[in-house]
Amino acid sequence: MKTRIAGAALTALLMIGAGYAALFIAPTDVRQGEVYRIMFFHISCWAAMFIALAVSFAGNIAWLVTNRLKWDWLGVSGAEVGVACCTAGLVTGPLWGRPVWGIWWTWDARLTTTFILWLLYISYLLLRGLIEDPQRRASLSAIFGIFAFLDVPLVYMSNRLWRTQHPQPVLFGGEGSGLAPVMLKVLMVCMAAIVVVMTLVLTDRYRLERLRYELDELRVEIESRAEEGNPITTKGEG
């Protein structure tokens, strides 16, 4: 419990530090003014999403190889947290695009592939809700998850491969790209804050899946005892 409180306090400090750095330490952009500061959280959300979906992908592959349910739990946890990060990115993107481009949205390669990615992982989560049998659910969703992950490199490469309304990459973008050193440091702090938050949420989401399994096991045990003629009664039921 103490570790959890210490972890939460450190995360809160990191979040406050990231907010302060993004709003007050990073210099004003010559062309965009103050609104460019959205970038620090917008890019960080995408970094966190890529990590969460990579975790999901690894979980999906590991399930198909080992058939151990803990990998399925990791797969669904990564996917759901990835969807949350993607949602945050899809919300902040238009809020940055409107003042800079003059439009909320456009169907260019980067935005379209990202929107498709969001839809794919929403479908992944919906698919899981439709299948009762845990083994079958894990296998089908793992296959679908691997298919959905194919869009991740496409999203990453889209503004490198095609001409897009979305700006060219500021990180790993090659010659002519990049950020001023102070901006880069602030971006790293913000990225660290969001990735730490994402990791904590992912850990909680994994715990949720483990508890679901535990609950199912208990229900099976109670049912099997009832079938044996030893029904379980609660206090007050006689």
Partner: protein, 46 residues
């Protein structure tokens, strides 16, 4: 500050998404824990 409303909304939106999601996960964890505890008591009480 020009376009401050966009910056402010984006800032709030990011933390709101994570906060709402974390609260939803924590609530589901708490419900499951209660349910597991109830079933364990049933098993012990037979």
């Amino acid at each position: 500050m020009k376009n401050f409303q966009f910056l402010f909304t984006a800032w709030i939106a990011v933390w709101a998404v994570f906060f709402v999601y974390e609260v939803s996960v924590a609530r589901r964890v708490s419900q499951l824990r209660d349910e597991i505890e109830r079933l364990k008591q049933q098993l012990r009480g037979r």
